[in-house]
């Protein structure tokens, strides 16, 4: 049968079969790209459906959580829908000099406004409850934002029939869906105020801070002093067990400028994204400010370190994006004692008796006290 299709008619082949191939090739040449675009659109559509379901489910969960957790005076549905649509306009960067302070101002304003709005829902709620609600709303808001952006490019690509927009979106969809899954998982963890992978830095420093007197050095940021091997160690982490990251940049500035502490070293402990193939919970040492986020805190720490010639050492605990924002894995938690040993080794090797050393536990301290 197949032989007949590819044989010339005079050789006993089928004429229709003989014509199918050139027509098929011609059609594929003319409409192949459109066909590929159609398949890509279908694939994106399926992911978008999943994204929509996840977003809607998260929205309902956020509303239910707020109702249960802080028992607001009135129905919070409208207000939470409003929170999920909040946006932040970043400062203009045509003249970048001084932009970090402008970004800091905008981000602080955003955080304060959100906290005030949440507090207005239930003025009697405590700090931990309010910060947990803040974190949960932030996750809901991130899912809402991702959904809207993906939907925008999907519809735009479909309307304009732009093959390149569709294909680009199709290519990054697996990465987007991975982030969505991570956020979805994080929602459960944050609702129950459980420690997340990113909280390993505060957990390690929190262990050293236990049973010691603390002072608030910046908003939601605690500082402790203690003696170790004739050196003065300053320990710093965000205030737990609420979901805070604190203001480590401003705190370092305050230690050096307001408290006039001459620091010999800064040691930063943080979670870091692992590369594929790296083991979760593995530890790596390096130099430089180990801190993520928008860059304000890192800038401030680097600025203070450079002006005062303070070496900055970094210890990171490797984990994936999903592990960083979902319940802490045992492999990550078990790195605590090893990291403390490394920190003590750096203190002993890189400083002398009488020196001041600052150790910062960087990350979200949800579910981790001190």
């Amino acid at each position: 049968m197949i032989e007949n299709l590819i044989m010339f008619p005079e050789e006993g082949g089928n004429l229709i079969g003989f014509l199918i191939w050139p027509i098929f090739i011609l059609v594929m040449m003319l409409y192949g790209q459109r066909f590929q675009g159609f398949l890509a659109l279908n694939e994106i559509g399926r992911s978008l459906n999943k994204l929509k379901i996840t977003r809607d489910k998260a929205k309902l969960e956020v509303i239910e959580f707020v109702k249960e957790k802080i028992n607001p005076k009135e129905d919070p549905t409208n207000k939470i829908n409003q929170f999920l649509e909040y946006f932040t306009i970043m400062p203009v960067n045509l003249d970048p000099a001084g932009i970090v302070n402008k970004i800091e101002h905008i981000m602080n304003l955003r955080d304060h406004r959100m906290k005030e709005e949440i507090k207005s829902l239930s003025p009697n709620s405590n700090k931990v409850e309010l910060s947990t609600v803040d974190n949960v709303i932030e996750i809901g808001s991130a899912l809402n934002f991702i959904y809207k952006i993906v939907r925008h490019f999907y519809l735009f690509g479909k309307r304009t029939k732009s093959f390149f927009i569709i294909i680009q979106l199709q290519m990054i969809m697996p990465l987007i869906m991975q982030q969505v899954d991570a956020l979805n998982k994080a929602l459960i963890t944050f609702k129950q105020t459980q420690p997340i992978g990113d909280g390993i830095g505060p957990m390690i420093v929190g262990k050293l801070m236990m049973n010691k007197k603390t002072q608030e050095i910046a908003e939601d940021t605690l500082l402790t002093e203690y003696k170790y091997n004739d050196r003065k160690i300053y320990l710093m982490k965000a205030e737990g067990p609420g979901g805070n990251v604190g203001q480590p940049g401003l705190a370092v500035e305050n230690i050096v400028k307001k408290m006039n502490v001459k620091l010999k070293n800064i040691i930063m402990i943080d979670a870091a994204l692992k590369l594929e193939g790296e083991k979760t919970g593995s530890i790596a040492e390096g130099i430089g400010a180990a801190i993520g986020g928008i860059g304000v805190d890192r800038f401030k720490i680097e600025e203070v370190a450079q002006k005062n010639n303070i070496p900055v050492y970094a210890i990171v605990i490797k984990q994936s994006l999903i592990e960083a924002i979902s319940i802490m894995k045992k492999d990550i938690a078990e790195s605590t004692d090893k990291v403390i040993e490394i920190t003590q080794k750096i203190i002993n090797e890189k400083s002398e008796k009488g020196d001041n050393i600052l150790v910062i536990g960087v990350g979200n301290t949800i579910g981790v006290a001190q």
Partner: protein, 82 residues
């Protein structure tokens, strides 16, 4: 587009639910609160309860020596021990 999305939403939800069940069965471990005795360092493990947090000092007494315990970690673990 909206029609197509809403039409297949139920189907996707069913697929998701099945996938979630499969994932829960395959990957998700249980969440444990691990406490340690301040004196004899004996560790005890219990399922996580709302209100637990790391470095909580009010978690009862050690079964072995009666000293105060401390929560040292809250983790997801696949293998149930003890």
């Amino acid at each position: 587009m909206n029609f197509r999305i809403s039409q297949s939403a139920d189907q996707v939800k069913k697929t998701n639910d099945l996938q979630d069940k499969k994932n829960k069965k395959d990957k998700a471990g249980k969440i444990y609160t691990i406490n340690e005795c301040g004196r004899c360092n004996v560790k005890s493990k219990k399922l996580f309860e709302s209100g637990d947090f790391v470095y909580n000092k009010n978690v009862g007494k050690c079964e072995k020596c009666g000293s105060s315990q401390l929560t040292i970690m809250i983790v997801e673990d696949k293998i149930e021990k003890n």
